[in-house]
Protein backbone atom coordinates (compact mmCIF):
# COMPACT_ATOMS: atom_id res chain seq x y z
CA UNK A 1 0.00 0.00 0.00
CA UNK A 2 2.85 2.37 0.69
CA UNK A 3 4.66 1.24 -2.36
CA UNK A 4 2.45 2.07 -5.28
CA UNK A 5 4.74 5.04 -5.86
CA UNK A 6 7.78 2.78 -5.79
CA UNK A 7 6.51 0.85 -8.75
CA UNK A 8 5.87 4.14 -10.47
CA UNK A 9 9.42 5.21 -9.71
CA UNK A 10 10.93 2.15 -11.21
CA UNK A 11 8.81 2.61 -14.27
CA UNK A 12 9.81 6.21 -14.61
CA UNK A 13 13.30 6.19 -15.99
CA UNK A 14 13.75 9.91 -15.93
CA UNK A 15 13.33 10.08 -12.22
CA UNK A 16 15.99 12.30 -10.64
CA UNK A 17 14.58 12.41 -7.16
CA UNK A 18 15.66 9.06 -5.92
CA UNK A 19 18.96 7.46 -6.76
CA UNK A 20 19.44 3.73 -6.53
CA UNK A 21 21.57 3.99 -3.43
CA UNK A 22 18.89 5.81 -1.54
CA UNK A 23 16.19 3.41 -2.64
CA UNK A 24 18.11 0.55 -1.07
CA UNK A 25 18.14 2.41 2.24
CA UNK A 26 14.59 3.62 2.28
CA UNK A 27 12.82 0.54 1.02
CA UNK A 28 13.93 -1.85 3.76
CA UNK A 29 12.85 0.81 6.24
CA UNK A 30 9.22 -0.21 6.71
CA UNK A 31 10.29 -3.65 7.92
CA UNK A 32 12.87 -2.23 10.24
CA UNK A 33 10.45 0.41 11.36
CA UNK A 34 7.76 -2.09 12.23
CA UNK A 35 10.28 -4.19 14.10
CA UNK A 36 11.61 -1.39 16.24
CA UNK A 37 8.50 0.75 16.43
CA UNK A 38 7.70 -0.49 19.90
CA UNK A 39 11.19 -0.13 21.23
CA UNK A 40 12.24 3.49 21.68
CA UNK A 41 15.73 2.69 22.85
CA UNK A 42 16.52 0.81 19.66
CA UNK A 43 15.17 3.71 17.66
CA UNK A 44 17.60 6.00 19.46
CA UNK A 45 20.50 3.67 18.71
CA UNK A 46 19.48 3.42 15.10
CA UNK A 47 19.30 7.20 15.01
CA UNK A 48 22.80 7.57 16.47
CA UNK A 49 24.09 5.10 13.93
CA UNK A 50 22.38 6.98 11.18
CA UNK A 51 23.88 10.27 12.30
CA UNK A 52 27.37 8.83 12.43
CA UNK A 53 27.33 7.03 9.13
CA UNK A 54 25.26 9.35 7.04
CA UNK A 55 26.43 12.73 5.88
CA UNK A 56 23.92 15.58 5.99
CA UNK A 57 23.60 15.48 2.22
CA UNK A 58 22.69 11.81 2.40
CA UNK A 59 20.14 12.60 5.07
CA UNK A 60 18.58 15.19 2.79
CA UNK A 61 18.37 12.65 0.01
CA UNK A 62 16.67 10.25 2.42
CA UNK A 63 14.18 12.94 3.35
CA UNK A 64 13.44 13.74 -0.26
CA UNK A 65 13.04 10.05 -1.04
CA UNK A 66 10.70 9.47 1.89
CA UNK A 67 8.72 12.53 0.83
CA UNK A 68 8.47 11.36 -2.75
CA UNK A 69 7.39 7.89 -1.66
CA UNK A 70 4.85 9.44 0.67
CA UNK A 71 6.28 7.43 3.55
CA UNK A 72 5.21 9.51 6.51
CA UNK A 73 6.84 7.56 9.35
CA UNK A 74 10.25 7.59 7.69
CA UNK A 75 9.88 11.28 6.90
CA UNK A 76 9.04 12.10 10.51
CA UNK A 77 11.94 9.98 11.68
CA UNK A 78 14.49 11.65 9.41
CA UNK A 79 13.22 15.12 10.24
CA UNK A 80 13.58 14.33 13.92
CA UNK A 81 17.10 13.08 13.30
CA UNK A 82 17.99 16.35 11.63
CA UNK A 83 16.39 18.36 14.42
CA UNK A 84 18.38 16.44 17.04
CA UNK A 85 21.57 16.93 15.07
CA UNK A 86 21.27 20.71 15.01
CA UNK A 87 19.87 21.23 18.49
CA UNK A 88 21.93 23.57 20.65
CA UNK A 89 24.57 24.03 18.01
CA UNK A 90 26.04 27.32 16.81
CA UNK A 91 24.72 29.09 13.74
CA UNK A 92 27.93 28.36 11.82
CA UNK A 93 27.60 24.67 12.55
CA UNK A 94 24.02 24.58 11.34
CA UNK A 95 24.91 26.57 8.23
CA UNK A 96 27.67 24.09 7.42
CA UNK A 97 25.29 21.22 8.09
CA UNK A 98 22.82 22.47 5.54
CA UNK A 99 25.38 23.92 3.18
CA UNK A 100 23.80 27.32 3.55
CA UNK A 101 25.35 30.67 3.06
CA UNK A 102 24.05 33.84 4.59
CA UNK A 103 22.35 36.00 2.01
CA UNK A 104 21.59 38.83 4.38
CA UNK A 105 22.85 42.36 4.00
CA UNK A 106 25.59 42.88 6.60
CA UNK A 107 23.49 45.21 8.72
CA UNK A 108 20.45 42.94 8.56
CA UNK A 109 22.21 39.96 10.03
CA UNK A 110 23.67 41.98 12.86
CA UNK A 111 20.25 43.32 13.69
CA UNK A 112 18.80 39.81 13.90
CA UNK A 113 21.72 38.68 16.00
CA UNK A 114 21.05 41.43 18.48
CA UNK A 115 17.33 40.83 18.59
CA UNK A 116 17.73 37.18 19.47
CA UNK A 117 21.07 37.38 21.24
CA UNK A 118 19.73 35.26 24.07
CA UNK A 119 19.11 32.31 21.78
CA UNK A 120 22.81 32.10 20.93
CA UNK A 121 23.84 31.69 24.54
CA UNK A 122 25.02 28.41 25.94
CA UNK A 123 25.46 26.49 22.70
CA UNK A 124 27.63 23.41 22.43
CA UNK A 125 31.17 23.63 21.15
CA UNK A 126 31.33 22.89 17.43
Amino acid sequence: MKFCTVKQYFDDENNNNVTNGIATTVIPLPNKHLKIKANNKEMEQYEQELLRNVMPQELTKLILAANYLNFKEALDFFCRTVANAIQNKSVDYVRKFFGLESDFEPGEEEKLCKEFAWSFEGVDED
Binding site: T60, I63, R80, D103, L112, G122
Partner: protein, 307 residues
Protein backbone atom coordinates in the same frame (compact mmCIF):
# COMPACT_ATOMS: atom_id res chain seq x y z
CA UNK B 1 26.14 20.51 -5.51
CA UNK B 2 25.40 19.81 -1.87
CA UNK B 3 23.85 23.25 -1.59
CA UNK B 4 21.53 22.38 -4.43
CA UNK B 5 20.27 19.43 -2.48
CA UNK B 6 19.18 21.35 0.58
CA UNK B 7 17.72 24.06 -1.54
CA UNK B 8 15.48 21.42 -3.01
CA UNK B 9 13.94 20.60 0.36
CA UNK B 10 10.46 22.01 0.13
CA UNK B 11 9.34 24.65 2.63
CA UNK B 12 6.92 22.40 4.42
CA UNK B 13 9.63 19.87 5.23
CA UNK B 14 11.95 22.55 6.56
CA UNK B 15 9.04 23.78 8.64
CA UNK B 16 8.54 20.29 10.04
CA UNK B 17 12.15 20.27 11.17
CA UNK B 18 11.98 23.75 12.69
CA UNK B 19 8.71 22.97 14.49
CA UNK B 20 10.32 20.01 16.27
CA UNK B 21 13.13 22.15 17.67
CA UNK B 22 12.90 23.69 21.13
CA UNK B 23 11.88 27.34 20.85
CA UNK B 24 15.40 28.56 21.55
CA UNK B 25 16.82 26.63 18.60
CA UNK B 26 13.85 27.39 16.37
CA UNK B 27 14.37 31.11 16.85
CA UNK B 28 18.05 30.70 15.97
CA UNK B 29 17.16 29.33 12.55
CA UNK B 30 15.83 32.73 11.58
CA UNK B 31 19.39 33.87 11.10
CA UNK B 32 20.53 31.08 8.79
CA UNK B 33 19.43 32.77 5.61
CA UNK B 34 16.62 34.89 4.20
CA UNK B 35 14.59 31.85 3.34
CA UNK B 36 14.78 30.57 6.90
CA UNK B 37 13.85 33.84 8.54
CA UNK B 38 10.19 33.30 9.12
CA UNK B 39 9.79 29.54 9.55
CA UNK B 40 9.90 29.51 13.34
CA UNK B 41 7.14 32.08 13.55
CA UNK B 42 4.58 29.59 12.36
CA UNK B 43 5.33 26.81 14.81
CA UNK B 44 2.13 25.39 16.31
CA UNK B 45 3.95 24.11 19.38
CA UNK B 46 4.79 26.74 21.98
CA UNK B 47 6.91 25.46 24.86
CA UNK B 48 8.10 28.17 27.18
CA UNK B 49 10.30 26.98 30.01
CA UNK B 50 13.47 27.65 31.91
CA UNK B 51 15.60 27.16 28.78
CA UNK B 52 14.50 30.59 27.63
CA UNK B 53 16.60 32.25 30.28
CA UNK B 54 18.87 29.50 31.52
CA UNK B 55 22.09 30.76 29.96
CA UNK B 56 21.50 34.43 30.54
CA UNK B 57 23.69 36.20 33.04
CA UNK B 58 21.53 38.64 34.88
CA UNK B 59 24.27 41.19 35.33
CA UNK B 60 23.85 43.85 32.77
CA UNK B 61 20.17 43.23 32.28
CA UNK B 62 18.37 46.48 32.55
CA UNK B 63 14.87 46.42 33.88
CA UNK B 64 12.69 49.45 33.67
CA UNK B 65 10.41 47.99 36.28
CA UNK B 66 11.59 48.36 39.83
CA UNK B 67 11.54 45.05 41.55
CA UNK B 68 9.92 45.65 44.87
CA UNK B 69 11.50 42.73 46.65
CA UNK B 70 15.16 41.97 46.28
CA UNK B 71 14.41 38.40 45.27
CA UNK B 72 16.86 37.65 42.47
CA UNK B 73 14.47 35.14 41.13
CA UNK B 74 11.95 37.87 40.55
CA UNK B 75 14.36 39.30 38.00
CA UNK B 76 14.43 35.97 36.24
CA UNK B 77 10.66 35.91 36.20
CA UNK B 78 10.54 39.34 34.62
CA UNK B 79 13.08 38.31 32.04
CA UNK B 80 11.14 35.16 31.23
CA UNK B 81 7.92 37.11 30.76
CA UNK B 82 9.61 39.74 28.61
CA UNK B 83 11.02 37.05 26.34
CA UNK B 84 7.77 35.16 26.00
CA UNK B 85 5.94 38.40 25.22
CA UNK B 86 8.55 39.18 22.60
CA UNK B 87 8.17 35.77 20.98
CA UNK B 88 4.38 35.91 21.08
CA UNK B 89 4.38 39.32 19.42
CA UNK B 90 6.56 38.07 16.57
CA UNK B 91 4.75 34.79 16.16
CA UNK B 92 2.27 34.85 13.33
CA UNK B 93 1.25 31.27 12.70
CA UNK B 94 -2.30 30.29 11.96
CA UNK B 95 -2.82 27.95 14.88
CA UNK B 96 -1.44 26.86 18.21
CA UNK B 97 -1.74 23.16 19.01
CA UNK B 98 0.30 23.07 22.19
CA UNK B 99 0.91 25.73 24.80
CA UNK B 100 3.22 24.91 27.69
CA UNK B 101 4.34 27.39 30.27
CA UNK B 102 6.71 25.83 32.79
CA UNK B 103 8.01 28.53 35.05
CA UNK B 104 7.45 29.77 38.53
CA UNK B 105 5.00 32.62 37.97
CA UNK B 106 2.52 33.96 40.46
CA UNK B 107 -0.51 36.16 40.63
CA UNK B 108 1.40 39.30 39.68
CA UNK B 109 1.79 37.92 36.17
CA UNK B 110 -1.92 37.33 35.68
CA UNK B 111 -2.31 39.76 32.74
CA UNK B 112 0.47 38.08 30.80
CA UNK B 113 -0.63 34.53 31.54
CA UNK B 114 -4.22 35.42 30.69
CA UNK B 115 -3.06 36.91 27.41
CA UNK B 116 -0.95 33.94 26.35
CA UNK B 117 -3.64 31.39 27.20
CA UNK B 118 -6.45 33.45 25.66
CA UNK B 119 -4.50 34.01 22.44
CA UNK B 120 -3.76 30.30 22.13
CA UNK B 121 -7.35 29.27 22.80
CA UNK B 122 -8.84 31.86 20.48
CA UNK B 123 -7.09 30.35 17.48
CA UNK B 124 -9.34 27.37 17.88
CA UNK B 125 -6.87 24.53 17.48
CA UNK B 126 -5.39 24.12 20.93
CA UNK B 127 -5.28 20.48 21.98
CA UNK B 128 -2.73 20.53 24.81
CA UNK B 129 -2.56 23.13 27.54
CA UNK B 130 0.06 22.68 30.23
CA UNK B 131 0.46 25.44 32.78
CA UNK B 132 2.93 24.38 35.43
CA UNK B 133 3.80 27.31 37.63
CA UNK B 134 5.60 25.39 40.31
CA UNK B 135 8.96 25.39 38.83
CA UNK B 136 11.03 24.43 41.70
CA UNK B 137 11.82 27.83 43.04
CA UNK B 138 10.78 29.54 46.19
CA UNK B 139 8.49 30.99 47.23
CA UNK B 140 6.12 29.00 45.06
CA UNK B 141 7.71 25.59 45.22
CA UNK B 142 5.98 22.62 46.68
CA UNK B 143 7.12 23.12 50.23
CA UNK B 144 5.26 26.39 50.26
CA UNK B 145 2.09 25.25 48.68
CA UNK B 146 0.10 26.78 51.45
CA UNK B 147 0.60 30.11 49.73
CA UNK B 148 -2.36 29.70 47.44
CA UNK B 149 -3.17 33.39 47.69
CA UNK B 150 -0.11 34.07 45.57
CA UNK B 151 -1.13 31.61 42.90
CA UNK B 152 -2.39 32.49 39.48
CA UNK B 153 -6.16 32.36 39.11
CA UNK B 154 -6.95 30.41 36.00
CA UNK B 155 -9.50 32.48 34.08
CA UNK B 156 -12.88 30.82 34.46
CA UNK B 157 -14.23 32.69 31.45
CA UNK B 158 -12.09 30.40 29.28
CA UNK B 159 -13.44 27.20 30.79
CA UNK B 160 -16.57 27.05 28.69
CA UNK B 161 -17.66 24.47 26.19
CA UNK B 162 -17.35 26.92 23.30
CA UNK B 163 -13.83 28.01 24.09
CA UNK B 164 -12.35 24.85 25.49
CA UNK B 165 -13.86 22.23 23.21
CA UNK B 166 -10.68 21.58 21.22
CA UNK B 167 -8.52 20.93 24.29
CA UNK B 168 -7.81 17.25 24.93
CA UNK B 169 -5.03 17.43 27.52
CA UNK B 170 -5.00 19.82 30.43
CA UNK B 171 -2.37 20.06 33.13
CA UNK B 172 -2.48 22.72 35.81
CA UNK B 173 -0.05 23.07 38.66
CA UNK B 174 0.07 25.77 41.32
CA UNK B 175 -3.05 27.62 40.17
CA UNK B 176 -6.44 28.43 41.56
CA UNK B 177 -9.52 27.18 39.76
CA UNK B 178 -11.82 29.55 41.58
CA UNK B 179 -14.12 31.29 41.62
CA UNK B 180 -16.95 30.11 39.49
CA UNK B 181 -14.96 27.63 37.42
CA UNK B 182 -17.24 24.90 36.27
CA UNK B 183 -16.40 21.53 34.86
CA UNK B 184 -18.51 22.35 31.85
CA UNK B 185 -15.58 23.36 29.72
CA UNK B 186 -13.64 20.20 30.47
CA UNK B 187 -16.05 17.65 29.08
CA UNK B 188 -14.00 17.01 25.92
CA UNK B 189 -10.82 16.23 27.80
CA UNK B 190 -8.94 12.97 27.38
CA UNK B 191 -6.49 13.67 30.16
CA UNK B 192 -6.66 15.93 33.16
CA UNK B 193 -3.95 16.53 35.73
CA UNK B 194 -4.45 18.92 38.62
CA UNK B 195 -1.59 19.36 41.06
CA UNK B 196 -1.53 21.83 43.92
CA UNK B 197 -4.73 23.42 42.67
CA UNK B 198 -7.42 25.15 44.68
CA UNK B 199 -10.93 24.01 43.83
CA UNK B 200 -14.41 24.39 45.12
CA UNK B 201 -16.34 21.31 46.05
CA UNK B 202 -18.98 22.11 43.44
CA UNK B 203 -16.32 21.88 40.73
CA UNK B 204 -15.69 18.22 41.44
CA UNK B 205 -19.33 17.50 41.99
CA UNK B 206 -20.02 19.01 38.59
CA UNK B 207 -17.82 16.38 37.01
CA UNK B 208 -20.32 14.28 35.11
CA UNK B 209 -20.40 10.79 36.48
CA UNK B 210 -20.44 9.18 33.09
CA UNK B 211 -20.13 9.78 29.41
CA UNK B 212 -16.84 11.61 29.64
CA UNK B 213 -13.99 10.86 27.25
CA UNK B 214 -11.53 11.07 30.12
CA UNK B 215 -8.83 8.38 29.97
CA UNK B 216 -6.34 9.73 32.48
CA UNK B 217 -7.15 11.56 35.67
CA UNK B 218 -4.62 12.74 38.20
CA UNK B 219 -5.56 14.74 41.29
CA UNK B 220 -2.77 15.74 43.63
CA UNK B 221 -2.68 17.96 46.67
CA UNK B 222 -5.97 19.58 45.87
CA UNK B 223 -7.02 22.33 48.15
CA UNK B 224 -10.77 22.42 48.61
CA UNK B 225 -13.20 24.52 50.57
CA UNK B 226 -15.18 21.60 51.91
CA UNK B 227 -15.09 17.86 52.28
CA UNK B 228 -16.14 16.05 49.19
CA UNK B 229 -17.04 12.61 47.96
CA UNK B 230 -15.86 11.61 44.56
CA UNK B 231 -17.64 9.10 42.38
CA UNK B 232 -15.56 7.77 39.57
CA UNK B 233 -17.93 6.29 37.07
CA UNK B 234 -15.97 7.06 33.94
CA UNK B 235 -16.27 4.32 31.40
CA UNK B 236 -13.16 5.26 29.41
CA UNK B 237 -10.85 5.92 32.34
CA UNK B 238 -7.62 3.93 32.17
CA UNK B 239 -5.40 5.66 34.70
CA UNK B 240 -6.35 7.24 38.00
CA UNK B 241 -4.07 8.83 40.55
CA UNK B 242 -5.20 10.49 43.75
CA UNK B 243 -2.45 11.84 45.95
CA UNK B 244 -2.73 13.71 49.23
CA UNK B 245 -6.17 15.16 48.67
CA UNK B 246 -7.15 15.62 52.28
CA UNK B 247 -10.65 16.76 51.63
CA UNK B 248 -11.63 13.82 49.47
CA UNK B 249 -13.43 11.84 52.08
CA UNK B 250 -14.94 9.23 49.86
CA UNK B 251 -13.67 7.85 46.62
CA UNK B 252 -16.06 5.43 44.99
CA UNK B 253 -14.78 3.76 41.90
CA UNK B 254 -17.75 2.10 40.36
CA UNK B 255 -18.18 1.24 36.75
CA UNK B 256 -14.79 2.40 35.52
CA UNK B 257 -14.64 -0.64 33.34
CA UNK B 258 -11.46 0.30 31.49
CA UNK B 259 -9.52 1.25 34.62
CA UNK B 260 -6.12 -0.34 34.41
CA UNK B 261 -3.98 1.53 36.89
CA UNK B 262 -4.78 3.20 40.19
CA UNK B 263 -2.33 5.06 42.36
CA UNK B 264 -3.37 6.37 45.72
CA UNK B 265 -1.71 8.18 48.61
CA UNK B 266 -3.79 9.43 51.51
CA UNK B 267 -6.38 8.09 53.88
CA UNK B 268 -7.09 4.67 52.50
CA UNK B 269 -10.30 3.89 54.27
CA UNK B 270 -11.96 6.32 51.95
CA UNK B 271 -11.57 4.18 48.86
CA UNK B 272 -14.03 1.71 47.53
CA UNK B 273 -14.12 -0.26 44.33
CA UNK B 274 -16.82 -1.90 42.31
CA UNK B 275 -16.95 -3.27 38.83
CA UNK B 276 -13.39 -2.68 37.74
CA UNK B 277 -12.63 -5.76 35.66
CA UNK B 278 -9.40 -4.47 34.10
CA UNK B 279 -7.73 -3.08 37.18
CA UNK B 280 -4.25 -4.53 37.15
CA UNK B 281 -1.89 -2.12 38.88
CA UNK B 282 -2.87 -0.76 42.24
CA UNK B 283 -0.42 1.19 44.37
CA UNK B 284 -1.10 2.47 47.81
CA UNK B 285 1.44 4.76 49.31
CA UNK B 286 1.97 3.91 52.97
CA UNK B 287 3.67 6.43 55.16
CA UNK B 288 2.61 5.25 58.57
CA UNK B 289 1.47 2.07 60.25
CA UNK B 290 -2.03 3.48 60.28
CA UNK B 291 -1.84 3.82 56.54
CA UNK B 292 -0.75 0.23 56.21
CA UNK B 293 -3.64 -0.97 58.30
CA UNK B 294 -5.97 1.17 56.29
CA UNK B 295 -4.76 -0.49 53.11
CA UNK B 296 -5.27 -3.97 54.50
CA UNK B 297 -8.70 -2.83 55.48
CA UNK B 298 -9.57 -1.67 52.03
CA UNK B 299 -8.19 -4.74 50.39
CA UNK B 300 -10.03 -7.11 52.67
CA UNK B 301 -13.26 -5.21 52.39
CA UNK B 302 -13.14 -4.91 48.66
CA UNK B 303 -10.77 -7.64 47.69
CA UNK B 304 -13.50 -9.63 46.12
CA UNK B 305 -14.36 -6.72 43.92
CA UNK B 306 -10.85 -6.47 42.56
CA UNK B 307 -9.92 -8.82 39.72
Amino acid sequence: KSEDLFLRLPDDIIESIVFILPIKDAVKTSILSKRWRLFWMKTPVLNFDYNLIESTQLKGCIFTVQTVDEDPFQQKRLLFVIRVNNLMSLWHGSKVNVLRVHFSLGKEFTPQLDQWITDAINMGALHTLDINLSFGLHPYCEAYYGNHEKYYDFPSRLLTKEKFSTVRHLTLKCCNLTPSCSFDGLVSLKSLALDIVTLTRSFLKDMPSHGLELEQLSLKKLRMDRDCKLNIDLSKLKYLAIVDCERLRGININGAVELNEFFFAGKHEYCSFKNVPKLVNVSFNCNTDDDYEGVLNVLTKFGHHLP
